[in-house]
Symmetry: C2
Subunit: 492 residues, 2 copies
């Protein structure tokens, strides 16, 4: 199986598509642009969800659920948001099918069941949620509202790719309401930090925190914070966004509150989200030509034990050792699969688990039984060692941590060597073409220049990093003065 994977150096995009399907993560469905997330892929997503959900709850957020549909009149209430999403939304116009009179085995849309008002399948939920918050908020006592929703959303994208850009995807969207501007900005920053912490430390993906330029901002936001990651092919991927919405939605939906001092004011808002797109980031940060590489924190199976045997008797002896080991590792919170299927040869199993990114593989054969050892193989380095049976639990728990760290370190090194400072457009183009990655360059701060550079190079401003220091320079395109560099890249 693994052997059939296209090499990354040959065709990165093809490698990605093949890997997603062959590693049993997801596949295309009968519905244009919509994916099926297969059990193995979904198990990884569940681990992401569990960790994020814990972090949200630790910071005082609660989950809730809002309708899938947004009536057109609500959808269009916040003008910029509506404009931003109108071109790609699925619209429900009817609520019934009926038998086709010309062919009774078929169904047609019943023209008598036309909705009075069309319903937009949510591309994001600000509109329906702020329309709801209107009923929840009267006084400062009702604030803050710190709510998150795990849900599916639909954006009718024309060109789709598994996990990266699909018509339907899964995500979480936080929607909070606050008394003051400062509080809402602090929430925006907090959630962006939570995303950064999660992606860095749980997914082992280094990210750069920053803010979006006006043209890359979320439709309807005053300010968009983001975390940007770098993929192995030198393209950037936006891994999460957190928006300060100002009073835009409160005004659009007339959500006011009475302050402690008895004054009426519009509520301040944020929204923030990450999606199944993170699966794409995960794959394109760590994986190799053999297949998926998973950080142990996200691996549904952290260790697989494969018996190498001839005949029932050997299998029985090996199984005894393997199951003891599995139990002892389970005690330490390590998830172990013992694969004693007799329908597949050990070599084929090795290839399968390599392809699926299981961090550690233990093989036990008759010679190991004699010597009291096992063979331990690391997925990240593809290296093997023999370990004394009695040391397996300690070695495995240490190694899982080491692999987690190693993946983060490797990805950070790659990312750091792919941030290049350039000082003119020729350098810009040359780096972009020959090396890729983030390009740190001066920009004059105008949307026009940003657009021109995009047209010339296909690179966009990924973010204005929070940790970039002031530096006087001149814009790589116009030569106009600039006070700080920003990060450009081609992006997913």
């Amino acid at each position: 199986m693994g052997k059939n994977l296209t090499k990354r150096s040959e065709d990165y995009s093809k490698w990605y598509n093949e890997l997603v399907v062959k590693a049993d993560l997801a596949e295309n469905s009968a519905v244009r642009g919509c994916m099926v997330i297969k059990p193995y892929g979904y198990a990884i997503w569940e681990k992401m969800q569990a960790e994020l959900d814990k972090k949200f709850k630790e910071t005082g957020h609660q989950n809730a659920y809002f309708p899938l549909f947004v009536p057109k009149s609500l959808f269009e209430a916040e003008e910029k948001n509506a404009e931003g999403f109108a071109k790609e939304c699925a619209v429900v116009t009817h609520y019934r099918l009926k038998t086709n009179p010309d062919d009774p085995s078929k169904l047609i849309v019943d023209p008598d069941a036309k909705l009075e008002e069309e319903l937009v399948v949510r591309p994001t939920s600000e509109a329906i949620i702020w329309n709801t918050y209107k009923g929840w908020i009267q006084s400062y006592r009702d604030l803050p509202i710190l709510v998150n929703q795990w849900a599916n959303v639909v954006r009718w994208e024309m060109r789709t790719r598994l996990f990266l850009r699909t018509a339907e995807f899964l995500w979480q969207e936080g929607h909070t309401a606050h008394e003051t501007k400062q509080e809402a900005i602090a929430e925006t920053a907090q959630m962006n930090d939570i995303y950064a912490d999660f992606v860095e430390n749980f997914m082992a993906i280094p990210v750069i925190k920053g803010r979006k330029t006006e043209s890359e901002r979320f439709a309807g936001a005053v300010d968009t914070y983001c975390i940007e990651a770098l993929m192995q092919d030198g393209k950037a991927l936006q891994a999460g966004t957190s928006h300060f919405l100002g009073q835009n939605f409160a005004k659009a939906f007339d959500v006011k509150f009475t302050s402690k001092e008895g004054k009426q004011d519009y509520v301040w808002a944020t929204s923030w989200g990450v999606s199944t797109r993170l699966m794409g980031a995960l794959i394109m940060t760590h994986s190799d030509d053999q297949g998926l590489v998973l950080p142990p924190n996200l691996a549904p199976i952290q260790v697989v034990i494969v018996p190498i045997y001839k005949g029932e008797e050997q299998l029985e002896l090996i199984s005894r050792v393997a199951l003891e080991m599995k139990a002892a590792l389970g005690q330490k919170g390590v998830s172990v699969k013992y694969d004693d299927r007799d329908t597949m040869r050990p070599g084929a199993k090795f290839a399968q688990y390599e392809l699926q990114g299981v961090p550690l593989r233990i093989a036990i054969g008759p010679k190991d039984l004699e010597k009291g050892t096992v063979e331990l193989a690391r997925r990240d380095t593809l290296s093997k060692t023999f370990v004394a049976k009695d040391d397996v639990v300690d070695t495995v728990t240490d190694l899982l941590q080491e692999i987690q760290n190693n993946l983060h370190q490797k990805a950070t090194e790659f990312r750091d060597t792919h941030i290049t400072e350039v000082n003119n457009l020729d350098e810009f183009k040359e780096v972009l073409e020959n090396k890729g990655g983030f390009i740190s360059a001066h920009w004059d701060g105008t949307a026009e220049t940003e657009q021109k550079i995009k047209e010339l190079t296909k690179a966009t401003i990924r973010c204005i990093p929070f940790d970039f220091v002031a530096e006087n320079g001149s814009c790589v395109y116009t030569g106009n003065p600039s006070k700080t560099r920003v990060l450009f890249a081609k992006a997913y």
Copy 2:
């Protein structure tokens, strides 16, 4: 707040609707028939999800995710299923809005963005899933497939009620594929048993397990197993169903496998689901005129501590005790909220937590500090006692178990006294009118009789209980011979 609740004896339906809204469980949205599940209601649903998900995984099931949309051609492939759901499905016909040329502040559906094939918003996912399974199954080695999905589904119901019947609802749907008929039937039974165990022991709601008659079966199923609960107003509520689908979907989607013996055969299927409807069952089983009553297993807050104080100094002393108690209870896995808000009087807090069904309330005042006691109030019995401070942890953990058991016992007594054997149609009508509940009666086994009884009485056959013994009798309607009683009731 609680005082404004309509009494159950006055208007049960009104009581229910008020309770759902006032206890902050859910509310109607701007979308006809779609609800907003509020954080407190959603927290209860999350507890249900977590427990069910654990049970599914313990029995070898994995989660996955399939598209929200079903292309019309797939939807209509299994004839009975299509017929069963065609009359109530939301249909996406377009994928874009555009500015209304007559009023640029408004959007209209873009007629140029009509889909080639309409998409049905899934009312249930058999069609899209079996179309997917076709690609997953070639050999017996690929079986069984044991997959579950947590998702939203849409059924365009004309009359809706919060949790009980909403156009969009949340549920889980299991979809399994098996080599043999026996294996699929065993799975159908296993999942019905898991539902029964969960609803009885976690939700404290007694249920009757049985099978549906042909006319009450799931559209496309060969056999439907179910669990039926009884609400306080004497109406039944179907709390979960598990379907043996035979080879119907395998045939409709041409899903064959090669057996160990090298023969080709269609795959055997099951599907099973429970939904946010269970929230309705929970409310209508345990709650009272004061508001919600929650079994401790499902209570987001199991214990609330309310300080009774005058001035900052008293509050500080009480808070010290309360926070110690909270920590000690937390150690035992009890979820405690300490409500020291100064914006609400203790009496109002008491009423709020009563309304929201918090199982235990601890009040601590200055006299308690002197005596080393606290006041402990049970929500289920509305009784109060004083408990020595040092006994609180033990008393609370015991009481939570006792409340869980008490609720189950009370509900079981009510249910058991509301199963009435009748032997003719007059008795049937009289019991239905004056007492309600389940009516155990002989029926001749025909759909015609079932329909006639329904027309006459509005009662339907809830199930043919698995544990009913054979008994010769004659049908209450036709007088024709019958070999076993079945359970009739009016139902939600």
